[in-house]
Symmetry: C2
């Protein structure tokens, strides 16, 4: 049996796999550069995590010096690749398919607390933000080559598609909630 890894651990294993070999610092940069703010990639999260994976035999470290400056290069082990594979699936995929958390959806649920004008404001603001998000995601889609790197492309496509669906939903909400004067 392979060791069970958390979401962040799986994700880090994936990043190391993608980059073949990388420093914890580089891993942090990936999180910090990501449009998804769910994980901050804080030092306090990443450094202990890679050491944990290393001591579990999923990663292998190598020290590297440029002058006096030390850095740690991590690489996937065979066991690490196994763990990454079993994290991805397909065994666990029924869990990963569950309805994702969405702060926007959560707020719409309680939109009844707001007075009508603020509700309208909320919906307009959300619509605007989503349009920005769609624009960015679709721009990224166009910049990627679906044949060369289908996975990055699909990632961007996913973001774009979800954003479009959320936009359509917010528009439906506006239709339903905002009083129109005839």
């Amino acid at each position: 049996m392979t060791s069970k890894v958390t979401e962040l651990e799986g994700c880090v294993l994936g990043i190391v796999w993608e980059m073949d070999s990388c420093t914890p610092y580089a891993i942090r940069k990936v999180f910090q550069g990501s449009p998804n703010p769910h994980w901050s990639g804080s030092a306090g999260a990443i450094y202990p995590l890679v050491r944990r994976l290393e001591s579990g035999g999923l990663l292998r470290v190598r020290e590297d010096y440029t002058g006096q400056r030390r850095r740690e290069l991590y690489k996937l082990t065979a066991k690490g690749l196994c763990a990454l594979r079993s994290w991805v699936g397909p065994e666990v995929s029924d869990w990963s398919v569950t309805i994702p958390v969405d702060p926007l959806r959560l707020r719409v649920r309680f939109l009844g607390v707001l007075q009508s004008s603020r509700r309208t404001e909320f919906l307009a603001h959300a619509e605007h933000q989503l349009l920005v998000q769609i624009k960015e995601a679709e721009k990224e889609c166009r910049s990627l080559d679906a044949e060369k790197d289908p996975f990055s492309y699909l990632l961007a496509r996913g973001v774009a598609k979800i954003a479009r669906a959320r936009l359509a939903w917010i528009r439906e909400a506006t239709e339903l909630l905002v009083e129109r004067r005839p």
Copy 2:
């Protein structure tokens, strides 16, 4: 200025508002009955949380006895309603609109680690799960009255629309990744 509440706190305030007056136990049931497994509604989360909100003046408690059995009835205060409103928005809505975390999307990003057959399996499984999810969500939509309770209706619509978008996306991924023999 109104006190800043966390996601779970805002959600609990919303639930108390929805139910007008309720026990922590009832709040837990809401989470446990929810199709979204993000919060477990564990006792260790809810009881300390409502006490925190109470001592912050956002909730008011009243004890209630049926025979020997004690229960605590919580109710929103004026301050609590304020806090709930400012949690919902629209001020914070640009944060709440950010790309939601999605374990499925995360896994698709690293789908390259799987061998082709497992990848196909993964996609087929995800597609199946999403179909189930859509069926359930759309059933709930039909059972709700958009005029009478537009917020619950919109919640269900949101789940259904997102699930449909994810399905379309997974099908696009299948199209792109699964070798078809001509």
